[in-house]
């Protein structure tokens, strides 16, 4: 096969479809039966998938900001891999939201990721916090993956078969995300005085955002009741047990800091975010919004 210029071979061209990352295949749920079970509320299911999808999308964005900033090459590769897993989970969940939503049926993952404003994002605030140092990263990754793994393990029994399948795959990935963060926490906590101080400071920084993870939003409560979603409050015991064991091995204790209140009780799940979120979305969305018709 020959081309007049070097770029022709890189784009999809009818029957000559070949090596072409990022073209053509835009639907991660292509061919998957996405019929919403008849007794499940489509609007609630869509809202619920956006919550879980936004958690992954926003935290994966924070993780990719570690590219070229990690303390060693292997760690850089690890964080990029973890971020990629979460981005994959986000893609499936946002696409699932689009198939379930009776208001805008068929809305695509890109539309959700790039063309929603801050108040429409449903991620917990922990995911969006400004990137800190490596101690803060390990503290946040430990908390996030421990919490999410407990939720996903419960979701493998979801009455929505798509959500159950996404969760079953996600459990395998979150297991090694959590182990990775836990092992680093032990190395840092039980390491030098400097590494210990930095992990302690990281834990203290993110801990005010931990209680929010376990307060069910009304959509989460209804979905858990319908045995489609997982009750975040029910994940608390496993979270406390796992994080407790990791901190004990790291010779650290849980920080004692007050929870960070929302606005009139409203937090990330209600679309009420921290200052960091606007900057994050500006970076995440600006190219897609500047060139809304672009393909690449």
């Amino acid at each position: 096969m020959s081309f007049d210029n070097a770029f022709e071979g890189l784009v999809e061209a009818g029957e000559d479809a070949r090596w072409a990352f990022g073209t053509g295949f835009e639907d991660p749920l292509s061919g998957v039966d996405t019929t919403v079970p008849s007794d499940v509320d489509g609007a609630d299911l869509a809202a619920y998938c956006l919550m879980l999808g936004d958690d992954a999308l926003v935290f994966s964005h924070r993780l990719q900001q570690w590219c070229t900033n990690a303390p060693e090459l292997e760690e850089e590769v690890a964080l990029a891999n973890i971020g990629l897993d979460l981005l994959g989970q986000a893609r499936l969940l946002l696409a699932r939201a689009g198939r379930a939503d009776p208001v805008s049926p068929g809305r695509g993952e890109d539309s959700y990721a790039f063309f929603r404003d801050e108040h429409e994002f449903r991620n917990v605030r922990l995911a969006e916090l400004e990137r800190g140092d490596f101690g803060e990263l390990i503290a946040r990754l430990l908390v996030f993956s421990t919490w999410r793994l407990a939720l996903f393990q419960a979701l493998t029994a979801s009455r929505d078969p798509v959500l159950a399948a996404v969760a079953a795959k996600g459990v395998k990935e979150l297991t090694y995300h959590r182990d990775h963060a836990a092992r680093w926490a032990v190395r840092l906590g039980d390491g030098t005085s400097s590494s210990r101080d930095r992990l302690s400071a990281g834990l203290a920084e993110i801990w005010p955002y931990v209680p929010e993870l376990f307060v069910p939003h009304e959509v989460e409560a209804r979905m858990a009741e319908a045995r489609v979603g997982a009750d975040p409050a029910a994940a608390r015991a496993e979270f406390d047990d796992v994080v407790g064991r990791v901190l004990a091995a790291a010779t650290l204790t849980r920080p004692e800091v007050a929870p960070r209140a929302g606005v009139s009780g409203r937090t990330g799940r209600d679309g009420v975010h921290t200052e960091a979120m606007g900057y994050l979305l500006a970076e995440l969305q600006s190219v897609a919004r500047t060139h809304p018709e672009a393909t690449w």
């Binding site: 479809a17 090596w19 072409a20 990629l84 994959g88 078969p161 182990d179 032990v186």
Partner: protein
């Protein structure tokens, strides 16, 4: 919808089975266990594939390569479907595929961890790598990093011959 299993399907399956993985080109999608089904629905070839990892960017390329191979073989209107359940496991890599990996200097995965209901156990001490060095055959190996150049590979080093190598992760 009519589904037929005919000589046409067998031929289409044979074509689909020649398509290789973009990241591990020594393996076909069939060797990797990603190719789930080739069937004919209403006269069109439908190929079902399963992602190895949720975020695997190679899925796009696999789909394009499958469509390209089948269209080159004369099939029109080829459809590639994603199958999410059950989730892919490294146990699905064929014996043939394991041999090809070793030959290419990549250690095949050991048995995937068994899942039990209830909370997933925490593993604070990384398990010793399983399998042999693809260069010298020694089983005295160590882990450099659980994460490699693609989502599906870890970095190991052989203590006997000193060579670093990649291993497909057990999942």
């Amino acid at each position: 919808m009519t589904r037929t299993d005919s000589a046409t399907t067998d031929r289409a399956r044979a074509v689909a089975e020649t398509v290789t993985d973009p990241e591990l080109p020594m393996l076909t999608l069939a060797d990797l266990g990603v190719l789930r089904e080739v069937s004919e629905v209403d006269g069109r070839v439908v190929v079902s594939i399963t992602p190895t990892y949720t975020g695997c960017p190679a899925m796009d390329t696999m789909r394009d390569d499958l469509v390209h191979a089948l269209e080159t073989a004369g099939y029109r209107g080829v459809e590639v479907r994603t199958v999410l359940h059950p989730a892919w496991s490294s146990d699905w890599i064929s014996e043939d595929g394991r041999g090809k990996l070793t030959e290419a200097g990549i250690a095949p995965p050991g048995p995937a961890p068994r899942r039990t209901p209830g909370p997933v156990p925490l593993t604070l001490v990384p398990p010793a790598p399983r399998g042999a060095c693809p260069h010298c055959g020694s089983t005295d190996t160590e882990t450099v990093s659980e994460f490699g150049a693609t989502a599906c590979r870890a970095l190991r080093r052989c203590r006997a011959c000193g060579e670093p190598f990649e291993q497909v992760k057990e999942i």
